[in-house]
Structures are given as C-alpha cells and as structure tokens.
C-alpha cells in the first residue's frame, strides 16, 4: 500500500502540495482529478520520484519510494509525452527498457501486438505519428507486468478503437490485482474506469473515496456534477 504523509512541495512562492496525507487503496483504480494547477501533476510526479518534496514522505509498505529502483521496477508509467530518443527504432526503444531491467522473464506483449506495433518495429521514433507513439508508450506501461500502473491522461491521443482496447487492458490487469493510479480530464472516463477518486484543489486533497459514494452524496447522476458540487462548496467559483 502506498502511504503518502504530510507531503509538501513548493515552487518558489507557489505551494503545489500543502501537507498532503493519503493512503492509496491497493488493488483498485484510483483517479486523481482536479483543475489545472491544482497540484495533481506534482502529486503524480512525487509518487514517480520526479519531484523532490520539501517535506513529508511516500512509503510503499514502510519503505520510501525516493530513488528506490525496486519501486520503479514494480511500476508501469504512461507519460503524456513520449520519452524515446528520436533516432532509435521502435525495437531498440523497447530493447533499451528491457535491458535496463535485466529482464528475461516473459513480457506482456498483448497491447503491443493488438496495437500492431510489430509492423512498425524497424521504424525510427521520429517517423511515427503521435497516435502510434502513444500506443507504444501505453503498451510499454504494461510490458513489465507492473504491480502499480500510473497513467497520465492515458486516452488523450488514442483513437476510440485503441482507447477501448486500452481500457479493457486496464480492467483486466486490475482484476489480477494491479493497483492503478490515473489522471484524466474526462469525467465520463473516470466514472467508467475508476473505483476511487482523489480530488485535489489548491494543493490539498478535498475528497478521497468511492466514485459511487461521491455521486450519491451529491445526488447527481454524473461524476462531473458531483465534482462541480465539491468545488462549489470549496470555492464558490468553479472551473474545470
């Protein structure tokens, strides 16, 4: 279980995370939502070890995840923007990641095959379209059979067909016990995929709990309206 306690991160004067504490439930799909600049990217990057907080800790079963390669080995990450050198081929990019893990065990190549990436194997990264790159990034997130899956705006540049395959894959691994942490702007998608929600606003967690509970609390049929409800209560002013 990932345990975040008293996490504080400031960028110069701006406080991105203000003493955040939360326990991320194991084995469920948790969506992190919040408006732009709310601190959700910082929160995700903290868990990934990309930003270094002023204060607080993030533990996995009692062990800090900072500079912790064991944690990284268990984590699959889908970034918003791809991160491959532009003059490598698809095959080489995958090979690099495999090499870094000294990984000889069987890899989960299901998405890779379903997305038809085999056909692009010998193309250079710079020759691929944005959609194909997103498919490559997505299939790599699952490739090393992670225990945690961190997905940053996962379906943003996927076509509906690929998006559907992807969502099915998320649900499939989740059923096998993989914890999933995702961000999304699309509330219908969150409603569809997530079991729990962490709502962040102005560097603080305003809600953490089940999606269904949230909707029933605010007595609305859609998550969007429920979120708007929290924001109305917290802010009086709402912009999502």
């Amino acid at each position: 279980m990932i345990n975040v306690s008293n996490l504080t991160k400031k960028y110069k004067k701006l406080t991105a995370l203000d003493s955040v504490s939360v326990k991320i439930t194991e084995g469920v799909v948790t969506a992190i939502v919040g408006p732009n600049g709310s601190g959700k990217t910082t929160f995700l990057k903290s868990i990934l070890g990309l930003v270094i907080p002023e204060n607080g800790s993030i533990d996995l079963n009692g062990t800090s995840i900072f500079h912790n390669n064991d944690f990284k080995r268990m984590t699959g990450y889908l970034p918003q923007i791809h991160g491959f050198p532009s003059n490598l081929t698809v095959k080489e990019s995958v090979q690099l990641l495999k090499n870094l893990r000294d990984d000889v065990s069987d890899h989960d190549m299901e998405l890779y095959r379903k997305f038809g990436l085999n056909e692009h194997e010998n193309k250079l990264i710079k020759q691929l379209s944005g959609g194909t790159l997103q498919k490559l990034s997505a299939s790599i997130a699952f490739m090393f059979r992670p225990k945690f899956l961190i997905l940053d705006e996962p379906t943003a540049s996927l076509d509906p067909w690929a998006s559907n395959i992807f969502k099915e894959k998320v649900q499939a691994v989740n059923r096998e016990g993989v914890s999933v942490l995702l961000t999304s702007h699309i509330m219908s998608e969150v409603e569809e995929m997530a079991d729990e929600i962490i709502f962040i606003l102005e560097g603080k967690i305003r809600y953490h709990g089940g999606v269904e509970e949230l909707m029933s609390t605010y007595e609305t049929p859609t998550l969007e309206k429920a979120i708007a409800g929290i924001m109305g209560k917290e802010l009086k002013l709402c912009t999502i």
Binding site: K45, L48, L50, D70, Y77, P85, N87
Partner: protein, 263 residues
C-alpha cells in the same frame, strides 16, 4: 555503472543517425581536405583546424549541448521512472553526446591526414596535440553546456547563458590578458600569464598546440617559461589534467544539481 553503459550504448545508436553528428563529421572531413588542397602544407592545415577548434567548436558544442538537454526532457522524465539511477542517466546522456562528437571530429580530421599527408615524424606531435586538445574542447564545452541546461530551466535564458559563456571564454578573456600585458608591461609576466591562461580551457588548448607546432620558432622569443613548461612531460601532464578538470568539475556540479532537481 552497468546501466550507464547501456544508456550510452543506445544514445550512441541514436547519435550516429543524428544529422548534426553526421554534419559535424562531414564538416571536418571536407574542411581538412580543402585545407590540404589549398594550403598543402601540414603545419598550415593544422593551424587552420586549430582556428576552428578555438572559435567554432566551443560555440557549436555549447549550443548543441544545451539544445540536446532541453530537447531530451521527455526522455529524461520517462527514463527516471525506469529503474535507473539519476547519475547514470545524466552521465549516459552526456557521454552519448560527447563520444560521437569527439569521434566525428577525430575521424573527420584524421582521414584527410592519412590520405593527403605523409604523416612524417615532425607532423605527428602537432597532429596529436591538435586532436587531443580538440577532443577536450568538445568535452569541456559539452560539460559546460549541460551545466547551463541543468541550472537554467528556461530554454531561451539557457541559450543566452551559453552564448555568454562562449563570448567570455573565447573572446573577452583574451582581451583581459591583452589588457594585463599592456598595463603591467614593466613586470615579469610570463608565469602569471601562464597561470591565467591555464584557467581558460580554450587558451590552454591553444597554447599547448602552438608550442607543439608552428609557433615553436616564435616561442623562443619570449616563451622560455611557456616552452620549457608546456613542452616538458610534466607540463603536458598538468595541461591534460587541467583540461580533465575543466570537463569533470562542471560535470560533477551538474550531476549534484541533477540529483536534486524537480523534473
């Protein structure tokens, strides 16, 4: 260490397909060949390449290094979510840029020398000092480029700083030495100037080359200290160590910063 090698390995594959590295190689190949065609004489050719090494090469490597680092943000971000130490990643990226540029320059210069000159005994020492100092100019200014890029997140500001660094070291520093030589003309200046020059990698590389090549005739004029110092084995070792420090200090400071950097 293990991962560092792997990262460099893939960075090299990337770099050898990069247009700039190929351009850089072809530039030296064509330039050196043309010099042989039009000047003919080995020492003249070496002098002209030295001119490039102390002006164009520092500027190009500074700009290329900073650009490369800024453009690698996505790669750096993603790689850090993989089981890789930050130090390995940073040095891997740096090595992946430095090695191809050094090789491109070495081979680009060396091939025409093999084809067009007889490489007689007295051409070997100047050529080696040219190649060694040329390689160091690349590593030093790539280290400085990465240093600038790690400390300055803003791309435009980073370029500004890089160009300023070049301007200071390639140009202004020599103006400063000239001013000292004129203001303090009545004092013995050889040793102080030698120390001041050692503090600038471009000057150090240039003087090291001069003393091993065409200007050795001139150096008899005033350069008793320079000559006996830099032509001796101990002097050469000091010069090489100074250039190594010029590479490793900015690199070490960059790694320290990079380890604590938010991405």
């Amino acid at each position: 260490m293990h991962n560092l090698k792997k990262i460099i390995n893939y960075q090299l594959r990337d770099a050898f397909r990069s247009k700039l590295v190929i351009f850089y190689f072809l530039f030296f190949l064509v330039f050196t060949s043309l010099m042989f065609r039009f000047i003919g004489e080995t020492s003249g050719v070496i002098t002209n390449i030295l001119n490039i090494n102390v002006s164009f090469v520092p500027l190009l490597t500074l700009l290329y290094g900073t650009t490369f680092f800024y453009n690698s943000r996505g790669y750096i971000l993603f790689m850090l979510t993989q089981p890789v130490r930050r130090t390995d990643l940073f040095l891997g990226i740096w090595g992946g840029v430095a090695i191809p540029l050094v090789l491109a320059q070495l081979v680009g210069v060396l091939l025409p020398f093999i084809f067009f000159s007889r490489l007689t005994g007295d051409a070997i020492v100047p050529l080696i000092s040219l190649l060694v100092t040329g390689s160091f100019i690349v590593t030093v200014f790539l280290a400085l480029a990465f240093f600038v890029a790690v400390w300055q997140d803003d791309k435009a500001k980073g370029f500004g700083v890089a160009i300023t660094v070049w301007f200071l070291m390639a140009l202004l520093y020599d103006g400063f030495i000239l001013a000292i030589s004129i203001f303090f003309a009545d004092y013995p200046l050889e040793t102080p100037l030698l120390i001041i020059s050692t503090l600038n990698p471009i000057d150090l590389a240039r003087i090291f080359c001069l003393i091993h090549m065409d200007a050795s005739a001139l150096m008899g004029y005033t350069g008793a200290v320079f000559k006996s110092y830099l032509q001796s084995t101990a002097g050469s070792i000091v010069a090489i160590v100074a250039l190594l420090l010029w590479t490793s200090i900015p690199l070490t400071l960059s790694v320290l910063k990079f380890k604590k950097k938010d991405l």
